[in-house]
Subunit: 116 residues, 2 copies
């Protein structure tokens, strides 16, 4: 991944609304949700949600497909994983011992962290 692409992905996640939407879609992977469900669950006006869904979709982090009258949105988990790897893959210039120490300082379940 290149830097400009990655920064666009982070930009897509840089608003409260979009991050909440994306996490909701991640939680509801792999099926996703239709726009109206997202609006109801997060209590976002349709117009504003549409603006943010468009931004997420253009970034590639979310996909959209029509389903009758509805449009179903899904999180692109593989792209999410790619951008995570972009952030971490050169940590400590690849020194695994250095990274291990950092992981131990994190407060989260190690299952949700890269192993290196």
């Amino acid at each position: 991944m290149e830097s400009r692409k990655a920064s666009k992905l982070f930009e897509a996640l840089s608003s409260d609304v979009r991050l909440d939407v994306f996490r909701l879609l991640v939680r509801n992977a792999p099926d996703g949700l239709v726009a109206g469900d997202v609006a109801r669950l997060l209590d976002i006006p349709a117009t504003n949600l549409s603006f943010h869904l468009k931004a997420l979709t253009q970034s590639g982090l979310v996909t959209a497909e029509r389903e009758g009258r509805f449009i179903r949105y899904k999180a692109s988990i593989p792209l999410m994983l790619d951008v995570i790897a972009y952030l971490t893959s050169e940590c400590c210039s690849g020194n695994p011992e250095c990274c291990r120490k950092f992981r131990e300082q994190s407060s989260v379940d190690p299952r949700f962290l890269p192993t290196r």
Copy 2:
């Protein structure tokens, strides 16, 4: 982590310049670099770099400490890992089999991915 905090962290990574700076500091963990080194390595005017270093520092993703005439900046790897976990921890509502399939679709080294 709460949503507003996480979106602020992604905002910190949402500019080309800041993402390049942050990744440079991650690569140079745990020692970090002084501002002038960052400016030279990435060819960024001092004024602009200072603006972005301030944003990164205020987000918490980067720490700063004076070292004589210099100021040394370091990436906060534990916070980076926390925000990664925030993004991934509720994936597929915790269904490990579902997440495993997604990991397999990713094009990156699995060592850089969460195991769940």
